[in-house]
C-alpha cells in the first residue's frame, strides 16, 4: 500500500492525527499549544479536501469521496476553524486547565462527521454518527462547574442516545428487508415498497430528525445552546445539522429517483411545523442565544422544505442554504461572544445602543441578522429565494407561502435586536473591545454573507453540480 493511496482519506487522517497529538500534548502539560495546533490541523485538513480525487472509493468501496462528501467536509472543517477563532480568546478557567480535552473532542467530532458523510454502509454510518455525537455531549457540559451546563449536557445526551437507538432500530428493519448493510441496496428495496422497509426508513427519518433538531424533536437545542460556550454553539448550530442533512440525502434521495417523492408529504409536514414552531418560539426569548437557537430550528424547517422538493434544484438549494446559514449564524454567534466577553451578559439589554458604541460591530450584527431574515443583497435572501423556487417547481405553493409569511415573523425578532442596537441609547459610551481572532472570524463571516449576497452565481453552480451527481 503506497502513500499515494492515502490521499483520498487525507483530511480524515489529518484530523485523526491532530486529535491524537493534541491530547498527548495535553497529557504532557503543553496545554497552551492545543488551540493553535488544532487550528493548524484544521487548516491542513481543509486544504487536503481539495486534493481528494472526486469519486474515489476506498476500503472495499465502503467509503466514498463523492462531490457531496467533499463539499460537506469543507463545510464541517471550515466552520470548525471559524469556531476555533472564537474560542481562542476564551478566558474561562476550564479553558486554561483543560484546553487539550476541548480541542481533542472538537477534532474527533469533526472526524466523526467526515466519516459519516462518506459512509456507503449502514454500520459505518452509525459509527460516524456516534463518533460525531459523543464529543458533542462532552463539549456541551465542558464548563462543568456551571450549574446549567451539566443539566444541558445530560438532556442533550439522553435525547441524543435515544435518537441513536431509534436510528439503529430503523437500520435493523432495513437490514432485515435487504439482507445487507450497504446503502446501495436501499433504492431497490424502497422501490419494492415492503412495509417493514417503510417502517425502518420512517424510524431513520425520526432518528435523524432528532439530530438536526426538527420539530417535534427540537427541545434539546435551546437549553444546550444557552448552557454551552458560545463559539462551540456557533459550530454546533451548523455542522452536526449539515451532517444530519447529508445522512438524509444518502438514505432517502441518492439513487432513489422519483420514488423518493413517497416521503414528500411527511417531510413537507415536518418542514412546515418546524418553521412555525421555531419562528413563533423565538419571539419571546430574552436571551439572545436562545433566540438564535429557535431561529436556527426555523432555518432547519426551510432546509427541510428544500429536501421535501426531492429534486436536483431542491437539494442544491438546500446545500446553498446551509452555506448561507453557516456564515450568517456563526457570524451572529461570534458577535454574541464578543458582547458576552465585554458585557458579561447574553441578554438583549447588552446590545443597547451598540450602534453608537461600536458602529462596525453593530453593522456586522445587523447584516448577519438581515441575512438570517432573508433580506436582499445578503446571502440569506438568495438562500430563501432558491428554496422557495425549488418548492414552487414542485407545486408546493402553500408551504412556500407559509414560509414567506414566517420570514416576516422572523424579521420581527431580528429587528428587536436591531432596535436595541440602533434605536435605544447606550448605557455607557466606550466602544466594545474585540479581540483579534474574533475580529478575523467575524470578518470571514461578513465576507461570506455579503459576497454570497452580491454574487451568488458561483455558489449556486457549485451546489447544483454537487446535487446533480446524486440523481444521475
Amino acid at each position: 500500500m503506497s502513500l499515494g493511496s492515502l490521499i483520498p482519506v487525507g483530511p480524515e487522517l489529518l484530523l485523526f492525527t491532530t486529535a491524537v497529538v493534541v491530547i498527548l500534548l495535553g497529557a504532557f502539560g503543553a496545554r497552551r499549544a492545543a488551540g493553535p495546533l488544532t487550528m493548524v490541523g484544521f487548516v491542513a485538513a481543509f486544504a487536503a479536501t481539495f486534493f481528494i480525487p472526486e469519486g474515489a472509493f476506498v476500503f472495499n468501496d465502503q467509503y466514498e469521496q463523492d462531490a457531496l462528501a467533499i463539499f460537506a467536509k469543507q463545510l464541517f472543517i471550515g466552520s470548525a476553524a471559524i469556531s476555533l477563532l472564537g474560542s481562542m480568546t476564551m478566558t474561562h478557567r476550564a479553558f486554561r486547565d483543560r484546553s487539550a480535552e476541548y480541542h481533542f473532542a472538537l477534532a474527533v467530532s469533526v472526524l466523526g462527521m467526515s466519516v459519516l458523510v462518506s459512509a456507503r454502509e449502514l454500520i459505518l454510518l452509525f459509527v460516524g454518527f456516534e463518533l460525531m455525537s459523543i464529543p458533542l455531549f462532552l463539549l456541551t457540559g465542558f464548563i462543568k462547574r456551571d450549574p446549567v451546563a451539566p443539566e444541558a449536557a445530560l438532556k442533550f445526551f439522553l435525547v441524543g442516545t435515544a435518537s441513536s437507538a431509534i436510528i439503529v432500530y430503523g437500520m435493523s428493519f432495513v437490514y432485515g428487508v435487504t439482507g445487507t448493510t450497504t446503502i446501495d441496496a436501499i433504492p431497490q428495496a424502497l422501490a419494492a415498497g415492503h412495509p417493514l422497509m417503510m417502517l425502518g426508513m420512517a424510524l431513520l427519518l425520526a432518528g435523524i430528525g432528532f439530530k438536526i433538531a426538527a420539530f417535534p424533536f427540537h427541545m434539546w437545542a435551546p437549553d444546550t445552546y444557552e448552557a454551552a460556550t458560545t463559539p462551540f454553539v456557533a459550530w454546533l448550530s451548523v455542522a452536526p445539522k449539515a451532517a444530519g442533512f447529508v445522512a438524509l440525502i444518502r438514505l432517502f434521495v441518492e439513487g432513489v429517483g422519483e420514488a423518493s417523492l413517497f416521503w414528500m408529504p411527511a417531510v413537507s409536514v415536518l418542514a412546515g411545523m418546524t418553521m412555525v414552531i421555531g419562528n413563533l418560539m423565538a419571539i419571546p426569548q430574552q436571551n439572545i442565544k436562545r433566540m438564535l437557537a429557535y431561529s436556527g430550528i426555523a432555518h432547519i424547517g426551510y432546509m427541510l422544505l428544500g429536501l421535501a422538493a426531492f429534486s436536483t434544484s431542491g437539494i442544491a438549494m438546500m446545500l446553498f442554504y446551509l452555506v448561507a446559514y453557516m456564515f450568517g449564524n456563526m457570524g451572529a454567534f461570534l458577535v454574541v461572544e464578543t458582547i458576552a466577553q465585554s458585557e458579561k451578559s447574553e441578554g438583549m439589554e447588552a446590545y443597547r445602543g451598540l450602534a453608537q458604541r461600536s458602529p462596525l460591530l453593530a453593522l456586522s450584527m445587523l447584516i448577519f441578522l438581515l441575512s438570517l431574515g432573508g433580506i436582499p443583497f445578503v446571502a440569506g435572501f438568495w438562500a430563501k429565494l432558491y428554496i422557495f423556487w425549488a418548492a414552487i417547481e414542485r407545486g408546493m405553493y402553500g408551504l412556500v407561502f407559509l414560509g414567506a409569511l414566517l420570514t416576516v415573523v422572523a424579521l420581527y425578532y431580528y429587528l428587536l435586536v436591531a432596535r436595541r442596537m440602533y434605536i435605544e441609547a447606550p448605557d455607557k459610551p466606550e466602544p466594545v473591545p474585540v479581540s483579534a481572532p474574533l475580529r478575523f472570524g467575524i470578518l470571514i463571516c461578513l465576507v461570506g454573507v455579503v459576497g454570497m449576497g452580491a454574487y451568488p452565481g458561483p455558489w449556486v453552480t457549485l451546489a447544483q453540480r454537487v446535487a446533480s451527481t446524486l440523481f444521475s
Binding site: 433580506i375 443583497f377 434605536i423
Partner: protein
C-alpha cells in the same frame, strides 16, 4: 447623447450621494446637507429631462437600458419608462428635493439620516423604472427597509394617548410610540412583499421561458386560475403599501411617527409604489383576472375613501388627520384604477401625482408647525394665521386641493376619477366617492379654521411664533407651485399618462 444612461443616473445619483455622505462627511453636517442636495438635484434634473424628452407619439417604453446580471436565471438589469413611470419619477424627484430642505434642521445623527433617506429614494426610483420583475422586487425591498431605522431613530412619539374602552390594551402594546410604529410599518410592508415575491415566482415558473422581463410576461397568456390568485396576491401585497382597507392601519401610525421628510416621502411617494404595482403588474400582466376582480378593488376603494375620511375627522392629533386623509385619498387612486375607463385610469394616475405633492406639502407644514410650537394637538392651537401667514396660506392651498377645489391638482384628479366611476359598470361607486370628498372638506376646513384662522389660542407658549424661514420656504414654495401648476395646466401630466393608459385599457377590455 442618445446613449447616456439617464435612468441609471436618476436612480443611482441619490445612492452615490448617500455613499459620499456616509464615508466622507463624518461630523460635517453642512457638507452632509449639500451633498444630499446635489444628489437630489441631479436626480431632479434627470427626471425633468426624461419628462421633456419622452416621445409622446411613439409612446410605450422608452430609454431602454439593459445588461444581463444572472444569465442562467434570466435576471437582467432592464430599465425603461412609459407615460406613468415618468410622472412618478418626477413626483419622486420633487418630493426628495423638497424633503432635503424640509429636513435641514435634523440635528441628531444627521449623517446617517440623510444616507438612509437617499438610499430609500434610490429604491423608489428603481421600482418605477425597472422592467425586470426581479430587480423590481429588489428595489422594492430597498424602499421599504430603511424605514425601520428612519422612524425608529428620528421619529416622534405622539402626545395623544390612546383612549376609550381599548385604551388600556392599546397602551400596553405601546401604540403611538415611534418604536411601535416603525415595527408595525416594517412588518406590514414585508408581509406584503411576501405575497409579491410568491406572485412573481409563480409567474416566472408558469411562464417557463427563463426570463423576468415585464415585456416578455406581457406577451404571455397565463392560465385563468393562476391569473386569478396571482392577481389577488399582487393586490394584497401592493395594496398593503397603498393602504387598502383593512390593511391600512400601519399608515397612520407610521406617518404620524415618522420624521418630516420621511412622512413626506412615504405618504407622498411610497404609497404610490403600491398603487403603481397594482396597475403595472396586476392589471398590466393579468388582464383576465383584473376584469374578474375589479368589483373587489373598487368596493374596497370606496370603503377606503369613506372610512379614511371618517377616521380623519375623529383625530385630535394634526399628523394623524393628514395620515388618515392619505388613506382616504389612496382610495380615490384605487377607485380610479378599478373603473377600467379612460378617464378613471387617468384620474387614478393623476391622483397619485396630485396626492403625492399635496400630502408632501401637508407633512412639510405639519413638521414646521411642530418645530415651532412643539405640539400636534389641534385643539390646543388656534389663530396662528396672524403669526405665520406663509405657513397658513400654504396649508390652506393644500387643503383646498385636498377637497378638490378647481384650479388645484386635486380637482382634476377627483373630477376624472368620479367621471370614470360614473361611466364604469358600477356607477354606484360614485356616491361613496363624492360623499368622501364632502367629508374631506369638513375635516380639512375645520382643521385649517381651528389652527390658522380661528380665535387666537390663550396658551402662553403660542403667543410669539415665527413664520417659515430660509430653506423652509424652498420646500413649501416648490410644492405649492407644482400643486397649482398641475391644477391650472393638467395637460402637462394628462398627455403622458394617456399614452400609457390607452394601450393598457385596450389590452384589458380587448379580452
Amino acid at each position: 447623447m442618445a446613449e447616456l444612461p439617464i435612468l441609471s443616473i436618476m436612480t443611482w445619483s441619490p445612492f452615490v450621494a448617500a455613499l459620499i455622505v456616509m464615508f466622507f462627511a463624518r461630523h460635517r453636517p453642512l457638507l452632509v446637507r449639500w451633498v444630499s442636495l446635489i444628489g437630489a438635484t441631479v436626480s431632479l434634473v434627470a427626471s425633468l429631462w426624461v419628462y421633456c424628452a419622452y416621445d409622446y407619439d411613439a409612446a410605450g417604453f422608452q430609454f431602454h437600458e439593459e445588461f444581463s446580471l444572472v444569465p442562467s436565471l434570466g435576471i437582467s438589469y432592464l430599465l425603461a419608462v412609459d407615460g406613468i413611470s415618468i410622472l412618478m419619477c418626477l413626483l419622486t424627484s420633487i418630493i426628495i428635493f423638497a424633503g432635503v430642505f424640509a429636513s435641514w434642521t435634523v440635528k441628531q445623527r444627521s449623517q446617517e439620516f440623510y444616507a438612509l433617506l437617499l438610499l430609500l429614494v434610490t429604491g423608489v426610483y428603481g421600482v418605477f423604472v425597472s422592467l425586470d420583475l426581479f430587480i423590481f422586487f429588489l428595489f422594492y425591498e430597498i424602499a421599504v427597509l430603511p424605514m425601520y431605522l428612519l422612524i425608529g431613530i428620528w421619529g416622534s412619539t405622539g402626545e395623544v394617548r390612546p383612549q376609550g374602552i381599548f385604551g388600556w390594551a392599546f397602551g400596553r402594546t405601546g401604540v403611538g410610540t415611534k418604536e411601535y410604529a416603525a415595527m408595525k410599518l416594517t412588518l406590514y410592508l414585508l408581509f406584503g412583499s411576501a405575497f409579491i415575491l410568491v406572485g412573481i415566482l409563480a409567474l416566472y415558473v408558469a411562464g417557463g421561458s427563463q426570463t423576468f422581463s415585464f415585456l416578455a410576461f406581457e406577451q404571455m397568456e397565463f392560465d385563468p386560475t393562476l391569473q386569478s390568485w396571482v392577481f389577488l396576491a399582487f393586490y394584497i401585497g401592493f395594496g398593503i403599501l397603498a393602504a387598502i382597507w383593512p390593511f391600512h392601519t400601519w399608515s397612520p401610525d407610521g406617518h404620524a411617527a415618522a420624521p418630516t421628510a420621511v412622512s413626506m416621502l412615504h405618504a407622498g411617494v411610497l404609497m404610490k409604489l403600491g398603487a403603481y404595482g397594482v396597475v403595472r403588474l396586476g392589471m398590466g400582466l393579468l388582464p383576465e383576472a383584473t376584469v374578474e376582480w375589479v368589483w373587489l378593488v373598487g368596493a374596497i376603494a370606496c370603503i377606503n375613501i369613506v372610512y379614511g375620511a371618517l377616521s380623519a375627522m375623529a383625530q385630535t392629533d394634526l399628523k394623524y388627520v393628514i395620515a388618515y386623509s392619505s388613506v382616504s385619498h389612496m382610495g380615490v387612486v384605487m377607485l380610479g384604477a378599478a373603473t377600467l375607463t379612460a378617464s378613471g385610469l387617468n384620474g387614478s394616475v393623476f391622483q397619485m401625482f396630485a396626492h403625492g405633492i399635496m400630502t408632501g406639502l401637508f407633512f412639510a407644514l405639519v413638521g414646521l408647525v411642530y418645530e415651532k410650537t412643539h405640539s400636534r394637538e389641534i385643539y390646543k392651537m388656534g389663530g396662528f394665521g396672524t403669526m405665520m401667514p406663509g405657513i397658513a396660506t400654504a396649508f390652506t392651498i393644500g387643503g383646498l386641493s385636498s377637497l378638490g377645489l378647481p384650479a388645484t391638482a386635486g380637482f382634476v384628479a377627483e373630477f376624472l376619477t368620479f367621471l370614470g366611476a360614473w361611466e364604469s359598470n358600477y356607477s354606484w361607486w360614485l356616491f361613496p366617492a363624492v360623499f368622501g370628498a364632502f367629508l374631506t372638506s369638513i375635516y380639512v376646513l375645520r382643521v385649517a379654521g381651528q389652527i390658522f384662522w380661528g380665535p387666537k389660542s390663550t396658551d402662553p407658549h403660542f403667543q410669539h411664533l415665527p413664520d417659515a424661514q430660509g430653506t423652509e420656504w424652498a420646500a413649501l414654495g416648490i410644492l405649492v407651485f407644482v400643486l397649482v401648476l398641475f391644477g391650472v395646466a393638467p395637460s402637462i401630466a394628462i398627455g403622458p399618462i394617456d399614452t400609457a393608459t390607452g394601450p393598457l385599457l385596450q389590452r384589458l377590455l380587448g379580452q
